[in-house]
Subunit: 142 residues, 2 copies
Amino acid sequence: MLKISELAVLTGLSAHTIRFYEKHGLIEASKRSDSGYRYYSDADVKRAEFVKSARNIGFSLDDIGVLLSIRLDKQSHSCQEVTDITQHKLDEVNARLAELQTMQQTLERLLESCCGGPENATHCSIIEALDGGDVTVARRAS
Amino acid sequence: MLKISELAVLTGLSAHTIRFYEKHGLIEASKRSDSGYRYYSDADVKRAEFVKSARNIGFSLDDIGVLLSIRLDKQSHSCQEVTDITQHKLDEVNARLAELQTMQQTLERLLESCCGGPENATHCSIIEALDGGDVTVARRAS
DNA sequence: ATTGACCTTAGAGTTGACTCTAAGCTTATA
DNA sequence: TATAAGCTTAGAGTCAACTCTAAGGTCAAT
């Protein structure tokens, strides 16, 4: 059984974050000492690592909650439920990627157009481009 | 001279957002009526459009503030100042793109590995992958 | 027995960019 | 003139995921 700081070292999450995740139902300590200290079993560690993996992929804490409930009772859930969540996250990631790629291209174009030198900005092509409004539009939806 | 709702239609920003930007020094109304209504000149409109262009590219409001001060007094600023800000934003965008691309690949790999069917999740390869922790790590720095 | 590291809690603060509310003027239309 | 649409302000609320604080209890080592 590990104490919270030991779980923190193991998972790379801070003790603060572990308590925060507990408050949100993501991580549990299967035992408490008489004085209230959290103690984590091997299964608790596995669960914490699951949470961390899911977080690393970009799942929201809400998503992770759903994934955990599936993990806890696999019999009652289908693969399709899991792929639905995953596909939805992939769609979000792809949408954000498209926005960022547009920004990237615009920024690169601007940088190519500007001398970047120590001369004053009276004829700076970046400022002019922003003034002209001829920059591509890409804003996050949500 | 335009009223705030007219500027809102023109720029696609909401009147709320325009006031919010004013509070942060980004947009100004060069006149106020006796009753306090904001009135925007052509120059004010240009400025608002500049702000919107910069925002669309992904610049933070703080960045936009700096860009505006350069725009207002081009003589006192160099092209290099402008490219520094732009390059820095491009670096951020590239960093985030790399993270998202890692997520994208991981999510695609997971989706390929799972049948996604109506069978129960007892052997779901996505759940297993998250359990095993064999997912790539990519978290935003800031 | 004392020090210091670690643990507990509830709850507040952070970030960035909005978004909304309430209460009250002003202006345009019928 | 009455009504509705639009404007004003200060300030609070929203989102997600932490991050930190304060005040105090616990534990291991000297």
